[in-house]
C-alpha cells in the first residue's frame, strides 16, 4: 500500500492557520488529484503531515461583487462547479472552457482551482487564463491576508510566492466591460490530456485597434508566462493580417519551450505561432 502520512482535518480557517504556523512540515490537500499521485507514484519526498482542507467550505464558491467589478472564486471550487456556474459562463467563459478540458469527470469533480494554482505546473490549464485576465490570488495565514497579482505568483519551476504557512483562499478576476478573453489548449486528445501548449488571449477592441493585450501561455517555459514582447507588438496594432503575422513571428522567438515526454520544443514553437495567428484572425474577422 502507498505511504499514508499522518493527516489532520481542521474545522475552520483559524485552526488550519494555527497548524500551518507550527513548523511541522504541513502539506495541504484539497481535491488530492495532484498530491495523491505524487504520494502514490513516489514522485517526491512524502509530506511529513497532511492538512486536509477539503471541508473548509468558506473557501468554496463563486460570487460577483456588488459593484459587478470582480468575480471571486474560492480556492476549493472544483472544475465541475466552475463549468456549471452561470456567473462564470456569463462573465468569464474562457475559464469554463479551460475547466472543461481538465482531465475528465472524475478529475473535474475533485480538482480545484486553488490546487492548480499552488501545484504550479507550467502545464496548469487555468493559469494562463488567470494571467491574461489580470487576476489576483488571495492568500491567508495567521499573520493576515494579502493579495498577489497572478503575474507575480509563479516565480520559478514549480515555485510560487506563497509562504509555507499560507493557504490560497481564492482568486479575484476584475470584470471590465468590452474586454474579450479567449482560451485554446492543444493536447494529445480531447480528454485526460496534459497540455502541449495552452494559451489565453485578452484584449479590448478600440476602433479596429487592439488595446490592453495579454498573451499568456502554459507548457512553453518553466512557469506559466506572459509573452510580453508579443503583447508589445499587438498593443495599439491594427486588427489586420500583417499584425497577426508579426505577432506570430515574435512569439515563436520569444518563448522557451523544451523537449519532454509530451512534445518537442520545435512543435511547441510552431503550434504556438499558429494558434496565436488563428485566434487573432478569428477575433479580427478577416
Amino acid at each position: 500500500m502507498p505511504i499514508e502520512p499522518p493527516v489532520s482535518t481542521p474545522r475552520d480557517l483559524s485552526e488550519a492557520y494555527a497548524l500551518l504556523s507550527d513548523g511541522a512540515g504541513w502539506r495541504p490537500i484539497a481535491g488530492g488529484t495532484d498530491l495523491m499521485v505524487q504520494i502514490t507514484g513516489e514522485l517526491s519526498e512524502p509530506p511529513e503531515h497532511v492538512l486536509d482542507i477539503w471541508r473548509l467550505d468558506q473557501l468554496r464558491g463563486i460570487s460577483v461583487g456588488h459593484d459587478g467589478a470582480t468575480l471571486t472564486i474560492g480556492a476549493l471550487t472544483t472544475y465541475t462547479e466552475i463549468r456549471r456556474s452561470s456567473a462564470v459562463r456569463e462573465h468569464l467563459p474562457a475559464l469554463a472552457e479551460a475547466a472543461a478540458t481538465i482531465g475528465a469527470a472524475q478529475i473535474q469533480n475533485r480538482g480545484t482551482i486553488g490546487g492548480n494554482i499552488v501545484n504550479a505546473s507550467p502545464a496548469g490549464d487555468t493559469l494562463p487564463v488567470l494571467l491574461a485576465a489580470d487576476a489576483a490570488i488571495v492568500l491567508g495565514s495567521a499573520r493576515g491576508e494579502r493579495t498577489i497579482a497572478a503575474a507575480g505568483f509563479w516565480t520559478g519551476y514549480r515555485e510560487t510566492a506563497r509562504s509555507a504557512d499560507e493557504l490560497v483562499l481564492g482568486v479575484e478576476f476584475p470584470l471590465q466591460s468590452g474586454r474579450t478573453l479567449r482560451f485554446r489548449k492543444v493536447g494529445t486528445r480531447r480528454a485526460q490530456a496534459i497540455s502541449k501548449v495552452v494559451m489565453a488571449l485578452a484584449y479590448r477592441a478600440d476602433g479596429g485597434v487592439w488595446r490592453d493585450v495579454r498573451v499568456a501561455l502554459g507548457s512553453v517555459a518553466a512557469t506559466p508566462v506572459r509573452a510580453r514582447e508579443t503583447e508589445g507588438v499587438l498593443e495599439g496594432a491594427a486588427a489586420r493580417k500583417s499584425s497577426a503575422d508579426h505577432a506570430a513571428a515574435t512569439i515563436v522567438r520569444e518563448i522557451t519551450p523544451i523537449d519532454d515526454v509530451r512534445s518537442t520544443a520545435a512543435y511547441r514553437r510552431a503550434v504556438t505561432g499558429r494558434i496565436l495567428h488563428r485566434m487573432l484572425r478569428e477575433e479580427g474577422g478577416w
Binding site: I3, P6, G31, G32, M36, Q106, R110
Partner: protein, 160 residues
C-alpha cells in the same frame, strides 16, 4: 473511533489511517474487490466510485475526505434483495459492453453518474462522460451503446 461513512447504503466505521486511499479501504479493509486498480494515478478510471453522487477515482481520494459521505460501488448496483442486475448492467450484458471486464466496474459507475445527471444520452455526451475511463478491449462502441440503451429503459423499471 474511526472514519464513519456509508458504502452502498450500509454504515461503516473504519479505524484506518486517514490518508489511506478509498480504493484500499474498499478493497483491503471492506473486502469489496469489485472496484479495480489499474494505474493508481487517476488516468484509467478502473477505480471509479460515486461519492455523494459524483463520480471520482477512488485511488485519488483519501478516506478522511469521505467522512460522513455516501459511497457507492459496483457492488451496490444490483438489487440487494434479489440480486437482479440493474438495467445498466443488463444493457452492458446485452450490448456486449464488457470483454475482459477490468474496466467494467468503473465504466458502470461513470455510466451511472451520467444517467443520474439526466442529460441527453447523445453519443457525444456519453463519450464525454466516460472519457476518464480507459478500455483496452471493446473499442468503446458497445459500451456507448449499452449506456444509451440503459438511458432509454422506461423509468418505471427503475433507472440503472
Amino acid at each position: 473511533m474511526g472514519y464513519r461513512f456509508s458504502v452502498n447504503g450500509e454504515a461503516v466505521d473504519l479505524a484506518v489511517p486517514g490518508m489511506r486511499r478509498l480504493l484500499d479501504a474498499l478493497r483491503e479493509d471492506l473486502a469489496l474487490t469489485g472496484t479495480k486498480e489499474g494505474c493508481g494515478e487517476g488516468e484509467c478510471g478502473a477505480c471509479s466510485v460515486l461519492v455523494d453522487g459524483a463520480v471520482v477515482d477512488a485511488c485519488l481520494v483519501p478516506v478522511c475526505q469521505v467522512e460522513g459521505s455516501d459511497v457507492r460501488t459496483v457492488e451496490g448496483l444490483a438489487d440487494p434483495a434479489t440480486g437482479a442486475l440493474s438495467p445498466l448492467q443488463q444493457a452492458f450484458l446485452e450490448a456486449g459492453g464488457a470483454q475482459c471486464g477490468i474496466c467494467t466496474p468503473g465504466m458502470l459507475m461513470a455510466g451511472r453518474a451520467f444517467l443520474d445527471d439526466g442529460g441527453q444520452a447523445t453519443e457525444g455526451a456519453i463519450r464525454e462522460a466516460i472519457a476518464g475511463n480507459l478500455c483496452r478491449c471493446t473499442g468503446y462502441t458497445k459500451i456507448i451503446e449499452a449506456i444509451r440503451q440503459a438511458a432509454e429503459t422506461p423509468p418505471k423499471q427503475g433507472l440503472a
